[in-house]
């Protein structure tokens, strides 16, 4: 290993950077790389399929067994792609090679000032206002620290429908504008009608304001990026005029539950390996993950107004998972889409418990299955179609696995209850002995498991070999202990996700849709009741399956035990892993530590400070009734135009209700209607001031 060149995460300057510090994104040997990669995938798939066929066909291949082979082959190809990607990624990391140029890793020269204009946009929808603006401000301050703030604007694009959150956003925006001196640089817009969700929100922005900017960086409500990362992305876009989009690899961080800490840990250990491997074979045919990426506005405007699928949701209508399709459309038009794993300083949040994770997956599942309709689209590049296919398979593989396991159970039953024919035909002179292929089956199982586990082990090995890096994970011993614990956890969680995804796919194919719902982004624990309600049926399935397996054959139960164990234990796993106490205990033991926990970057430390300093609430709509600043701000931010007679009438009636019963009796819909117009102060709502006059809420535009 002494001869291996292992780089720290900060890389070194090298050949991929030219004399003035430009970084060209140029993948050499694209054809050769992909030929080698996909040949390896094909060979592995064929080998796995052949082994499975050989194992099952010892006594001849029944229809059930043939089905198993087909399902296994489809799923094994999926695993083979992931395995080869991990293998390549780990190798490149070990050798210290950039996956795109295959040279040593290079960062753009940061002393250069951007010469273009970039806007950082954050589409939000009924989010935690304090978190949104704390993250945005931490990002702003980090950009300011680079000295290149003049090249950036920031834009909050709200689709919020909750009236109190709407007001909180306006007030928070004004407060942060004032605190940062960001007037004319930090913008806020709330869309009156939120058609087509997030893609519609971004397209509305593009129609009105994209003309001011060369690039836009899209952040999610829980995203945060370092100023250096943003500047690097801008410089790369300037250096590569054919690039339509450059995606960073965001690291999940910030959660304290055991579930989230395990995911954060493995993402930090293994994520860079997979991102490196992906960048190796994708090159300019990369994918878009929806946020923490920079996009050339001209390219986005020309190519990315998404089609509406014919038919109704869930498989028709607006595209929920817009990012993959936008990347495919960019490629179709000839723009390059790059994944650059070495951009450091890009973070996101993840759900804090298995139920929130599953709720998010439900939406992603529907969005990805819609891509079945996009796959045959004209003009799409082959790798773009592969990305869409992989997105579909990330959920469709679960029912295939479920069917595979069910078929295996049936096959085991058939084998256990069918007497072996020693003389299969009356003409045979010699007996046909039963062939015991159980050892071959174990080998196949171990190979499959190995392909899932080996890339993760390699990631740990790569980190262990770096001199200083393991300390960021608590040291080498804790790194490996965490990896083993994560493996056990993921073995238990995988069958639960398999059943959930199978249910999602089934309900979607039966026509049940979900829309855009705000994601739960806090660390609140799941109660035992909620865990039972969500996982009770899964537990029952596990118990029933275990019982049937035992009845079939005790050895079959042993074989299927990793699957049924996860199902049976799903309730306590969900409950315990959602606990911040369990997460804190693991942290005290030094398990699942990440670099962000061991040595928090400036941006994340600042985020924590800002969150602690943020008020719990700024008062919501009630503040507008009593604070002239707040009510004037709200009025100033409304779209211009006069109310219709209907709106005027409805608002008048709502004010009358507020006058008689108090503003705290207003419903959410009534509050939203009031907010469509400048809000009257409380003392005016409580009028009239003299007897004999009619109730006089007055014209809405008279409201001071």
């Amino acid at each position: 290993m002494a001869s291996a060149r292992i780089l720290s995460e900060h890389g070194v300057a090298a050949a991929a950077r030219d004399a003035v510090g430009r970084v060209r994104l140029d993948g050499r040997g694209k054809t050769g790389r992909r030929l080698a990669f996909f040949t390896a995938v094909a060979v592995a798939t064929v080998a796995g399929s052949a082994l499975m066929t050989d194992v099952l066909s010892g006594d001849g291949l029944t229809a059930t067994e043939a089905s198993i082979v087909i399902l296994f082959t489809i799923n094994f190809s999926w695993i083979a792609i992931s395995f080869m990607t991990g293998l390549v990624g780990a190798s490149l990391r070990l050798l210290g090679r950039d996956p795109i140029s295959l040279s040593a890793i290079a960062q753009p020269a940061r002393g250069r000032a951007p010469t273009t204009r970039t806007v950082v946009v954050m589409p939000i929808f009924n989010e935690d206002t304090a978190r949104v603006f704390a993250g945005l401000r931490a990002t702003w301050e980090s950009v300011a620290a680079t000295g290149h703030l003049a090249a950036f604007d920031f834009f909050v694009l709200s689709d919020t429908r909750d009236p109190d959150i709407w007001v909180e956003e306006e007030l928070a925006w004004a407060d942060h504008c004032r605190a940062l001196g960001a007037r004319g640089r930090l913008f806020y817009r709330r869309r009156e009608h939120n058609e087509e969700g997030k893609p519609g929100n971004l397209m509305d922005f593009c129609r009105k304001w994209a003309g001011h900017y060369d690039h836009m960086v899209v952040l999610d409500a829980d995203s945060i990026m370092a100023g250096t990362a943003l500047v690097d992305l801008v410089l790369m876009m300037e250096d590569n005029p054919q690039a339509g989009l450059i995606q960073s690899a965001p690291a999940p961080t910030g959660r304290r539950t055991l579930f989230a800490r395990i995911l954060q840990f493995m993402s930090r250990v293994h994520g860079p390996t997979m991102a490196t491997g992906l960048a190796f074979w994708q090159l300019e045919d990369g994918n878009y993950w929806g946020h923490n990426a920079i996009i050339r506005t001209q390219a986005f405007v020309e190519c990315c107004h998404l089609p509406i699928l014919s038919g109704r949701p869930p498989l028709g209508g607006s595209l929920l998972s817009h990012d993959f399709v936008e990347a495919a459309l960019l490629r179709r038009a000839g723009w390059q889409v790059w994944l650059v794993p070495r951009i450091e300083g890009s973070w996101e949040d993840i759900p804090g418990d298995p139920i929130a994770y599953a709720v998010r997956d439900r939406r992603w599942c529907q969005g990805n299955l819609q891509h079945i309709r996009v796959l045959p689209g004209s003009g799409l590049k082959p790798i773009s179609r592969l990305h869409l296919f992989m997105g579909v398979m990330s959920y469709l593989s679960s029912p295939l696995w479920f069917a595979l396991l069910a078929m295996s159970s049936i096959a085991a039953f058939e084998q256990a209850h069918t007497a072996h024919a020693f003389f299969p035909s009356s003409q045979s002179l010699f007996p046909s002995w039963p062939v015991d292929r159980s050892q071959d089956m174990v080998v196949l199982l171990l190979v499959t498991l190995g392909m899932l586990v080996v890339p993760k082990l390699l990631s740990c090995a790569v980190l262990s070999l770096e001199r200083d890096r393991p300390a960021a994970f608590g040291g080498r011993i804790r790194l490996w202990a965490g990896a083993i614990a994560e493996f056990v956890f993921s073995v238990l969680l995988a069958p639960v996700m398999m059943v959930l995804h199978t249910r999602f796919v089934a309900t979607i194919l039966m026509g049940r849709a979900v829309g855009w719902l705000p994601q739960r982004r806090d660390d609140s624990e799941i109660s035992w009741g909620d865990a039972m309600r969500f996982h009770g049926a899964i537990t029952a399935l596990g118990l029933a399956w275990a019982g049937v397996a035992w009845w079939i054959s005790p050895s079959f139960l042993v074989w299927i035990s990793p699957v049924v164990a996860g199902l049976i234990l799903s309730v306590p796993i969900a409950r315990i892993s959602s606990s911040t106490g369990a997460g804190e205990m693991a942290r005290r033991w030094g398990l699942f530590l990440t670099p962000e926990e061991v040595s928090p970057p400036q941006e994340l430390a600042r985020l924590d400070e800002l969150l602690k300093a943020s008020p719990a609430t700024r008062g919501g709509i009630m503040r507008l009734f009593s604070d002239p600043h707040a009510s004037a701000l709200h009025g100033a931010l409304l779209p211009t135009g006069a109310p219709t007679l209907r709106i005027s009438t409805e608002v008048t009636l709502i004010y009358e209700k507020a006058r008689r019963l108090g503003p705290d009796t207003l419903t959410r819909e009534e509050k939203a209607k009031l907010l469509s117009w400048p809000v009257r102060p409380l003392d005016q709502i409580r009028g009239p001031s003299t007897p004999g006059t009619a109730t006089a809420p007055g014209r809405p535009d008279c409201a001071p």
Partner: protein, 156 residues
């Protein structure tokens, strides 16, 4: 109330206003309400607003005698008075929409955060030379100017 009764009412001083002439009391309440919404706590400014509001309201009553919603009339008078004054200060319309007036109000509230412009509120001639600049500096800029683009929807 008949026009004759209005005329009698106008000749009375506000101090002697009685229950049968509700206008002075309502005018004071409305003037106070509007002044508070602009962060103005000056007695002189309040009296200017009250006088302007009352005068406009009586003028309206003179041309529209009969049963009138006093509060609404005084409210509209306050709105017209203040909007007109702001238009004179800023040199641009502020009454074409509620959003415009709210934006102007917000700018005035920010410029008058320390109360330094309260005494000059509704002063028509002079006294507001620096107010326009102060309001321009604090005017809310929620979004940049629109650069409209037509974007074609893609097809598959």
């Amino acid at each position: 109330m008949t026009l004759a009764e209005h005329t009698i009412t106008i000749s009375r001083t506000p101090a002697r206003a009685s229950a049968d002439n509700p206008i002075p009391a309502i005018a004071r309440a409305i003037a106070w309400r509007w002044a508070a919404s602009f962060g103005v706590d000056s007695t002189a400014a309040l009296e200017r607003l009250e006088a302007a509001v009352t005068g406009l309201a009586y003028g309206k009553l003179a041309v529209q005698p009969g049963r009138v919603d006093f509060e609404q009339a005084l409210d509209e008078a306050a709105y017209l008075t203040i909007a007109g004054w702001l238009e004179a200060v800023l040199g641009e319309p502020v009454a074409q929409s509620a959003q415009q007036l709210s934006a102007a109000r917000l700018a005035f509230l920010a410029a008058n955060a320390d109360g330094s412009w309260s005494e000059n509120f509704l002063v028509v001639h002079g006294g507001t030379a620096g107010l326009r600049a102060a309001m321009e500096a604090t005017r809310v800029m929620a979004t940049p100017p629109v650069v409209p683009r037509h974007i074609e929807r893609q097809s598959l």
